[in-house]
């Protein structure tokens, strides 16, 4: 790795820090994101005075539960050095499909699996295009995005209200712990994050994902199941988008085919801010979670300010820039491949 590990300077804090940064270079962007998040929260508290309250912090999770789920799925795909532009459209499609089925009296125990399978199928389509037809992930997921958006409009052109108590319960039931609120959607999102982190860190499948992102050719030569793993990554991303559709339906209490336009960009931005490299092979689900919270905090702060929401996009764009440059510096310093 870098020179810091081989020189014989007596062990001090500086050396240890340097050794950590050279060995665990991929964690640095995550800590940077965490630092930004804390700075944002503290600045918000200093400016508004009522920012760091359990209510605001709880709503950070509840309002962004769907984005969190999308970001976990997106992390899988980006780690394989791919990208999935379809998630926003898949969210809209599964949400409107679910709302339509519920309004026609289909029981909820059927509807939710159908929504998840719908997302998974679009993910599978994208994966097949990429893996078997040699299509670039960007173009393949673009096709998936158009398909899902068109299907959403095919299901319904207008908003469909959801009155199913089980779906609405996901958002309206609030567990109150000392002023902190947690809805079932928040629990789902946290479970998805935990599952994603564990799978990536401790399973053979998860390590194969990192291997493919690091160098697909090497992974293939090592005899790792590249085809199956990449397909699964896109299926997971699609399923997450379907699940986000469930959560989003509960959140909005309705399905609408125009939902989620631009959400794929927010998701990618959150994942990148969370320290995942778009070149693949380096990143963490926990980082993506921090990225989503950074996004949510900016959004909350801007609505606190009463400023125009267009500032959210500008700030996210600027932050994205900062993080990309920082990552660029880290990558060029730590890896000399």
């Amino acid at each position: 790795m870098s020179a810091a590990t081989s020189t014989r300077i007596p062990e001090g804090i500086g050396t240890r820090v340097r050794r950590f940064t050279s060995r665990r270079a991929s964690w640095i962007p995550v800590f940077a994101a965490l630092g930004i998040l804390l700075a944002l929260l503290l600045a918000g508290q200093a400016y508004f005075g009522n920012f760091l309250t359990p209510r605001v912090l709880s709503s950070l999770l509840l309002d962004n539960a769907y984005l969190l789920i999308l970001a976990v799925g997106m992390t899988f795909v980006i780690l394989t050095a791919g990208i999935d532009l379809s998630v926003g459209a898949v969210l809209a499609f599964t949400a409107i499909m679910g709302a339509r089925m519920l309004s026609e009296g289909v029981p909820v125990v059927v509807v939710i699996p159908v929504m998840l399978i719908g997302g998974a199928l679009i993910g599978l389509l994208i994966g097949v295009l990429i893996q078997f037809f040699d299509v670039q992930p960007f173009i393949a997921s673009l096709a998936g995005m158009f398909a899902a958006r068109g299907l959403a409009f095919l299901v319904s052109l207008s908003s469909i209200k959801v009155e199913d108590p089980a779906i609405l319960w996901l958002q309206t039931k609030l567990f109150n712990i000392d002023g902190w609120y947690l809805s079932p959607t928040g629990v789902i999102a946290l479970l998805v994050v935990a599952a994603g982190a564990l799978v990536l860190q401790f399973t053979r499948f998860g390590r194969t994902i990192y291997a493919i992102g690091g160098n697909e050719q090497s992974a293939r030569l090592m005899g790792l199941p590249v085809v199956r793993t990449k397909l699964l990554a896109y299926i997971i991303c699609g399923t997450c988008a379907g699940l986000a559709g469930v959560v989003f339906t509960a959140y909005q209490g309705a399905g609408y085919p125009l939902n989620g336009i631009g959400t794929e960009l927010d998701t990618i931005a959150a994942v990148v801010i969370g320290g995942t490299l778009l070149t693949g092979g380096s990143g963490f689900v926990l980082g993506s979670m921090i990225g989503v919270f950074v996004y949510g905090t900016i959004k909350t702060a801007i609505s606190f300010l009463g400023a125009e929401q267009s500032w959210t996009r500008i700030t996210i764009g600027a932050l994205l820039l900062v993080f990309v440059v920082v990552q660029r510096v880290i990558v060029s310093r730590s890896s000399r491949r």
């Binding site: 096709a143 068109g150 996009r313 500008i314």
Partner: protein, 343 residues
């Protein structure tokens, strides 16, 4: 396997011709052109006129893609240039004077030229991935446009400004001349100088071309700047068509259409060899397809589904062609190719 069939423009042209045939059979009025007051009207003329913004953007995109990059920010830049130009016209006392018009257009495209150069700086100097470098402005650009217009949709009345996309010159829409000029300029600069070859060499192997003495940094930088400039002109045309600066709707999804047009025209997203003629055909194909969808009475909302089918068909045909061409090499080459795709 004659020489003609091997030409790389055969498939794009065949697709366009097939589309035109389908249109003509389903509604014969498609190809009819009527002359009124010395001006030509008809579906084909509409396609020529309406394709102008996409043509400009796609030309810039072709050059960027040839350097192995991609520019996602073009739609947002269109919104910015429209917002800048219309805000200037709106604020001036004489919206009809040529001076105001010149200043407005110059200001609009200068701003997007600077933004394009900024994209190029991120990609060529800082070495950031093109997708993410241009994603920054794609996210922030519309916000900036909204700030310029103050969150409103600025509307103006200016006859000369309106002329640019709705006026006629010598019987043909003025916007068509704009795209012709852009095509000719880009083709001349890229094909009658060494620049095109250098651009291709940078796209095929940046490191090798740098070692061979090609200033790849400047070429990549310039490609993004040109893309920004052309997107600026496209934004002016778009805002002139609706006489309003709509920061949210201007150029929405045009980056995707432009990328599709480039890919349809046979230019690989992997960079390198590019075809300006192919892009021109690709743009007309997409514009014809859009008009087809409208005329067939398909609800506009369902049109994404058609676009998805087109994308899938195109990429499948292209990959099939790869298979036929190198059927024996397939097994060995495919693993390498996939590694490149995953780049």
């Amino acid at each position: 396997m004659t020489k003609i069939f091997k030409h790389r423009l055969v498939l794009p042209i065949a697709a366009l011709v097939a589309l035109i045939l389908v249109n003509t059979i389903s509604r014969p009025s498609f190809v009819s052109i009527t002359v009124r007051d010395g001006q030509l009207y008809g579906s084909v003329i509409d396609i020529l006129r309406n394709s102008a913004p996409l043509m400009l953007v796609a030309l810039g995109m072709t050059i960027v893609i040839a350097t192995r990059g991609i520019d996602l920010s073009v739609g947002a830049l269109m919104a910015v240039s429209g917002a800048v130009a219309l805000t200037i016209i709106d604020g001036s006392g004489s919206p009809d004077s040529p001076a105001t018009l010149g200043i407005a257009i110059a200001a609009g495209v200068t701003v997007t030229l600077i933004f394009g150069a900024w994209n190029g700086f991120l990609v060529s100097v800082l070495g950031i991935q093109p997708i993410i470098a241009t994603l920054v402005l794609m996210l922030a650009g519309r916000g900036i446009a909204l700030l310029i217009t103050g969150g409103f949709i600025t509307t103006v009345t200016s006859t000369p400004y309106k002329f640019m996309s709705q006026g006629y010159l010598l019987g043909l829409p003025f916007a068509f001349y704009v795209s012709v000029v852009a095509i000719v300029l880009v083709a001349l600069i890229q094909r009658r100088t060494a620049l095109g070859v250098l651009t291709e060499s940078v796209g095929i192997n940046p490191e090798a071309s740098r070692l061979a003495g090609v200033r790849s940094r400047g070429i990549v930088w310039g490609a993004y700047a040109v893309s920004g400039l052309l997107a600026g002109f496209a934004g002016i045309l778009y805002s002139s068509n609706i006489m309003a600066a709509d920061a949210n709707a201007a150029g929405q999804y045009i980056e995707l259409d432009a990328i599709l047009a480039v890919v349809l025209g046979g230019t690989s997203l992997m960079g390198g060899k590019f075809s300006i003629a192919g892009t021109v055909i690709g743009v007309f194909t997409i514009q014809t397809l859009k008009s087809t969808i409208t005329f067939l009475g398909v609800p506009p909302a369902v049109s994404p589904l058609f676009m998805a089918m087109v994308v899938v068909i195109v990429v499948l045909v292209q990959s099939q062609r790869v298979r036929n061409g190198a059927s024996k090499l397939w097994a060995t080459v495919s693993s390498r190719k996939e590694a490149e795709v995953a780049r």
